[in-house]
Amino acid sequence: MNAPTLPAEITAFAAAVRAALADLPPEEVEELTEGLEADLAEAYAEDLARELPDPDGYAAELRRAAGLPSPERRSDPLRRTAEDLRSRLRDLNLSLRSSPAMDAVLDFLVSLRPAWWLVRGWAAYQVVGVLFGVTGDLMPGSLVLWVLLGVMVAGSVVVGLRGWPAWMRGLIVAGNAFAVIVTLSVLSQVPTRADLDAAWFESSTAEMPYVGDAGGLMTTDGRQVTNIFAYDATGAPVSGVQLFDQDGRPLTTSAPGGDGCLVEFGPDDADACKVPGAWVPAVLETGATAWNVYPMRMVESTLDDPTQPVAGAEPQDRPAPYLKVPALMSAVEDAPKAGKKSEKNR
């Protein structure tokens, strides 16, 4: 044997034989296959037409001649349990299939395997997606994530289509169990219609936009008070009214930075806002800003950042609900007297 290097097929053949013996202790495999390449190379060199046999068959022959247990009859308790389980499943399968109806059902379930591969790929995407910071989203939200999902599904299908050695099948079974758990747990977090309704109700009634340190929410008949219009005793509108509650706390309808709607589409479409606006506080002589001065004015803002005034926009008065309201009785009674008095004085 003069060749210092071995033909690639011999190296590959020897590796396949060792793989087929992989259930044996490594020292045993080493003892059995030590010199295998050299022996094969010599046989190969003597007879170039000689074809390498099937490595599995070759390994089985080695094993049998060496008096070693075949892989089916192992003493290892874990493997024995797995074997036992497998044969029980086989028996169960056979007994179930003895009924034609059950046979058809099982065939149908087997035909669904590709669907399971898709689900499994999706489950793998959910697990790997955590690395990308994606949790709870059923479907990808970006191109990168779509590609990731595609890779995972393709991988799952490949795993499903190919035949695998026993140890790999064990891993696949464990992976499948994990995929089922992931799938169920992700799906259990998907909000139901009732959850969504509850969440909407909560958010729509939450004291979010108008509440801050400056005060609480004011409502009349369940509708939020966003501005206050004051009229004096004669029924004429008053501006610059500062309001406080019984404890001297400012009465505010809008938290600092609150926003609202500057221009609505129309009275029928009160929920839709054409131009958003930011409330503008008044400035006190101390230099402080006050959010309890009414009627509060509003400045145009954008939908992207409704609390931020558009550059250069001027604060606008909000339209008053009434130009004038009925005067107070006391004011009506006083007015003529004052008039008579002035006439007398004239």
Binding site: M1, A66, G67
Partner: protein, 108 residues
């Protein structure tokens, strides 16, 4: 009759006999068995048998380094192997005589 079936029962004694003549490595033993007329013998069967006889203490082994190719694992016979060979040779001889007598009786 399939000679490979017969071979299974006598491979141990055949391998012991070959190694008894002269130490040999795996393929060398295969070649000598074939040269002796056992054409059906399979490589893997011989290597497995060598390994089993070694485990049973009938053979020793040693590695011979080679500068040209992979190292060779040589097998030699032990005193225990010699005893085993002697016993099996006798068993075979008795068996072969019995069979010969039986088959000659059929022929005559």
């Amino acid at each position: 009759m399939d000679a490979t079936q017969l071979l299974k029962g006598v491979l141990d004694v055949a391998v012991l006999a070959v190694v008894h003549d002269e130490d040999g490595y795996g393929y060398d033993v295969v070649r000598r068995l074939r040269a002796a007329g056992l054409n059906e013998v399979g490589d893997a069967s011989v290597y497995g048998t060598l390994r089993r006889l070694y485990s049973a203490g009938a053979l020793t082994s040693y590695v011979v380094p080679s500068e040209e190719g992979p190292h060779r694992k040589y097998y030699g016979i032990t005193p225990q192997g010699r005893t085993m060979l002697a016993e099996q040779r006798k068993t075979w001889a008795d068996f072969a005589r019995t069979m010969d007598r039986l088959l000659e009786g059929v022929a005559s």
